[in-house]
Symmetry: D3
Subunit: 159 residues, 6 copies
């Protein structure tokens, strides 16, 4: 059966699940998330975009580096040789938030959703860090897996 | 003035801000966050709590370890000798979510809100990882700084 | 000849040995080890097992994470994409010790005995850390490779 | 009372214990351990000592680097700014083993026994790694805290 | 006598030198270095500066993060709680090179020259990585300590 | 076209380039570099070579370990399962410098020049660290890619 917890063995103890016999296929994942910010932050980031003091370019690098460090942070994640990663941002002025979209790709035996989610979370935390001097009430929200392809379970798209 | 971005210099370039002259005081921060899960996950975690196969104890360890690795993940964070860290969980059945609360403490020159937030985020990502086989639609949400003490700006409590 | 030191070149200088031409096969290793503890520790761990305050579940996570970090700790170890890892414990009351058994698996060009041994050692060190307040005389002992399969040299079982 | 487990809170959950109020004093620890090896390894290491291909100098560096990474490996260990570390070896021909002695020192709020023990264990694992091609039956044994000074509990010497 | 090698003990074995008794003072270091590049790279970086695709902002983040990881890379370096770090660039068109200047600051028991030098080296390596597709003949050159203050030996300025 | 910057996307934002479809081939790179030192350092290192207190064996280990950590340091580098690495030294008395040569090898989808260059840089930084007590004016210089094979662009030899 597909949907049982693979991170525990028969005795209920945590294990790094055996993926030795899973097929090596091209796998991709896209995760998304946002951070709610005040107008000051929003303005700073907008201006930073076209001019100087670019919060988002620092957050992008932090996100991509975190993608590579996922298996070092999440205890039962398998190490994977990531073959691509991107982090993109959208400034949602109406919603007073910055949206993050992180992708990861691999040719491997297991999926990369944790990598995409970790990259998203760390990019958001980096925005928080860089803007916390001008907004103490920011909130990271709506971090989820948007899409996933490859592997036995096929394509998943969140609706 | 207090509320300018300290992570950029006069030319708008990212810097690790100079905290050499800030006072060494006891500082504490509490961050919170949640993950929305389906009933299957909720049941598994509840049972794991009293019996075996404990998702939350793995997530707790991941969160505490991430607290210690914050300055390695967030590019402009200062390294800090954390003197205490806890990660606690609450199962919110009505709200179909697991709540995380992470604290960090230090005697140092700058605050530990990023440590508490990073511990919260990584604990939530770990729950995600361990339960993703039985719920592909989980969502991490409401990650924020709940409280912060110490340093020049004094006590902050989110309302 | 099989049994020469591969971690040195002709001049006697340390090298990370060339495994480029070794065959990619499924490889597995099992390592074991123990920690001698006093009765107080033994009781605490036994109770923790069925109730709360679980030393062993923390040590298990530490061991699995260390398996993944082996090539970062052991200077001439090759990085490997571990495909499985488990850490199990046995409480040996008669012998006043906790036994650890760590397995690692990979599909790769070199064996995973160092990964299994490192996971064992770090799990034991973690038990030490968590119990040192109630026993200052613990001793880690008998850490060895129990079994190894895959690769040119075939199956090895310690007798 | 001194001797309760500090790595768990009242609910039995793992925590990084609060050391904020502990005194900052000079603290030192010495750990020891051995690896049993066959004659081939013993000869190789003896010759390496005076000539070339020096197993022990690689193991020494690995041990010192591991001392610095202790809080990254042992989940509930506090990060500490180590102020000194040494790793020394003794070739015990009669006992067919290599003995390791690792020291660590800090001016801090908690002891450095885990650092000394981790340095010892990683130095021994490195010897294992470098010699495993000529001896598959090595065994790491007798890893313990030999001495510890500083802090409220004063000087400890293992008898 | 001041100028003996502190990274070896009486037996000539490598040690992490004992700095326990050194004074805790404010210490600062500035390191510099360059990378020789072709005109294509020079143009790309100039344009990136005012517009988009900013090589230097990625290299700056890499340098600052490397400053924090120095004691993890350089075997006998002491860990230090860096209190400030900056990485700046100068485009030297006449000399066909990009110049890097990295500063580090700490209140601690030993100097931060290795941190400043490591930040410089990693910033230069990052420029190399990002531009290697358009110039295979780049060369990193002239990496040195420009200035150093604090500690017993006082101020040093390279002439 | 071959020679465009692969580390930026169409919008000029940094990305970890997609190498999923690149061919898995055997790839090798050799990087070189030097450090200019005074006579005292030169003599120390020469003597260390034949006797004890060996600076170069520490630098060799640091270089090989850095090769494995390249993708963790250089933001947009892909992780790679390195299959071989060596670091060699030459004492150039006439030129008052120590020369470093680092090689890296992989069977993978992208080249290992960054690994060889990072190993070279960290080996040189380690020599600097170990000798800085007896020479404050050392300079790292001439770090470049000497040779590279494998992949679509074929063999490159610097002239």
């Amino acid at each position: 059966m597909e949907n049982k917890l693979t991170h525990f063995n028969g005795q209920g103890n945590a294990v790094m699940a055996d993926i030795t016999d899973k097929e090596t296929t091209e796998r991709m994942a896209i995760a998304k998330g946002s951070i709610k910010v005040n107008d000051k932050v929003l303005n700073h980031i907008k201006n930073g975009k076209v001019e100087k003091g670019d919060v988002l370019s620092v957050a992008r690098i932090a996100g991509i580096m975190a993608v590579k460090r996922t298996s070092d942070l999440i205890p039962l994640c398998h190490p994977l040789m990531i073959t691509k990663s991107t982090v993109d941002f959208e400034i949602d002025e109406a919603g007073s938030r910055i949206k993050v979209c992180c992708t990861a790709k691999v040719t491997g035996r297991t999926g990369v959703e944790m990598e995409a989610l970790t990259g998203t979370a760390v990019a958001l935390l980096t925005i928080y860090d860089m803007c916390k001097a001008i907004d103490k009430n920011m909130e990271i929200t709506g971090v989820y897996l948007a899409e996933k392809t490859g592997g036995k379970s096929g394509r998943y798209v969140r609706n």
